[in-house]
Symmetry: D2
Subunit: 136 residues, 4 copies
C-alpha cells in the first residue's frame, strides 16, 4: 500500500451553499491545501515569499457524498508521480468511515518573469527527494 | 458541429492569486456560472428560491493557458448528454483566439428533504426539451 | 482586561491575490470562522444541520499590515455585547508581535421559514450564558 | 446630489450559503468589483498586468436585507474623497426598490517592490481627474 499523507479540514460556513452542503468548487481548494500541507510536512513551502509555485495543468474530482458545515474531513494525499517538471497527486476524502470523494491534480513548477509571464523549469532533485521521503 | 451556448466572464481581482493569474479553483465556478446562464437563457432557474438544484457528481478541467485580472473569457457550453437523472456538460474556455482550457461536469437533479438530506429524482421531460431547444 | 478567545488561522494560497497578500475580503471570513470556533469551544454549533444561524447586520475591518501565504495569524475574539436578539464581537488580528488589523461584527439570530424567509427571534438565555462562560 | 456610478451584479450559486442567501463576505467583493468597474468606465485599469493596485485600509458594510441566488443587485458607487494617497468610496446596494445595504472603503495606492513589500506613493493627479470626470 502506498504511503499517504493525511490533512484534516473542517468545513466553514462560507463554504456551504443554498443546497446546505459544501460547494463543489471548495473540494479543489481542499486538494490544494492538502498538497501544500504535505510540502510543509516535508519542510518546504510550495511558493515562498510571493513566488508562483506550481501551476495546475489538470484537476478532477468525483463526488460520492456531501460535506456539511463543521464536518471534519480527512484528506489523504498520495504522490503518484514525481518528476522534475511534473508532480501528480491523488486524493481520497473521507468523513469517518464514509467516502466523500476522490480527486487528482497534475502540477508543474513555474517561475514568474519580470513581465509576469510564467514559465516552467526543472526543479532540483533534492526537492523531489524530500517530498518522496515524506511519503515513505 | 454541436450547438454551443456562450457565456462571457471577466476575471475579478479577488479571483487572482500570488502567481498573478486566476486561481485554478475559479474555473470550476466559471463552468457552473456558464451552466446556470444557459438555464436562464432557456427560460429557467436551475435552483429556484432556495432549492438544491443539481448536484455535481464529477468535474474536471484541463488548463492550457492562464487568465489574468480583467481578462474577458468566452466560455462555450455544450450539453453532451441530457437524461432525466443526469445531465453532462462540456466547456471550452477561450481568450480571443487563445485556448484557455476545457472542462466537463456531470450533474444530477436533487431535492432537499425536511431534514436537509439530498435525494435524486426524475426531472420532467419538458425541462430537458427546453434545455435542448436552447442548444439547437 | 476582557477575556479573549484565540483562533489561529493559516493563510491559504487561494486566499492570496496578485498583490501577493491575503485578499481583504478574506479577513471577513476569518472573523466569522473565529466566531464559530468560539461557539464550538463553548460546546455549541452556531448553525446546526442546515439552519440559518446568525445573520450579520454590520461588519467592519481596519487593515494595519498585510498577511501572506502560510502566515499563521492569531485572531482574538471578544464578545462585547450579548443580548437575546443581538451579539456583538470585536476582533484583533496579530502575526507574532505585529498588529494585522481589528474588526467588528454585529449578529442577530435568524430562523429560516418554509418559504426560505429569514426572521429573527429571542435566543434562549442559557445559550448566552454558555457563550459568556467561555469568555470568562 | 452627488454623481453615482452604477454596477449591476447577479448573485451566483457559489456565493450563497446554507442560510439560502448571499454570504456576507461576498458584499465586500462586490464593492471592490464595482470600484474596478468604475475605473474601467474611466478608461483605466486599477491594477494593470500583475501590479498591486490599491490596498484597502478600511472596509465596512451595513446589511439591510438579503440577496439570493440570481438576484440582480444594483451597486451605486460614489467617490467621497479623492487624494493622491487615498481614495474613499461609498456604496449603496439596491434590489429594485429595496435597500440591500450600504458600505464604505478606504483605499491607498501601493507599489510592490522586488522583495514583494508594498509601499504607498503619490498617484498622478491626472488619474484622479479622470476618476472625478467619470463621476461628474
Amino acid at each position: 500500500m502506498a504511503a499517504r499523507f493525511r490533512y484534516r479540514r473542517r468545513v466553514e460556513f462560507a463554504e456551504t451553499d443554498q443546497a446546505g452542503i459544501a460547494h463543489f468548487s471548495v473540494f479543489f481548494r481542499y486538494m490544494e491545501e492538502a498538497e501544500h500541507a504535505l510540502w510543509r510536512a516535508a519542510g518546504m513551502s510550495i511558493a515562498p515569499r510571493g513566488q508562483a509555485g506550481w501551476a495546475r495543468v489538470a484537476a478532477a474530482f468525483d463526488f460520492k457524498s456531501p460535506l456539511r458545515f463543521e464536518d471534519e474531513c480527512d484528506i489523504f494525499v498520495e504522490v503518484t508521480e514525481a518528476g522534475r517538471r511534473k508532480v501528480l497527486y491523488a486524493f481520497t476524502f473521507t468523513l469517518g468511515e464514509r467516502l466523500v470523494g476522490t480527486g487528482t491534480m497534475t502540477t508543474v513548477p513555474v517561475n514568474k518573469g519580470a513581465d509576469g509571464a510564467l514559465s516552467s523549469y526543472d526543479v532540483p532533485t533534492d526537492l523531489l527527494d524530500r517530498l518522496r521521503a515524506q511519503m515513505a
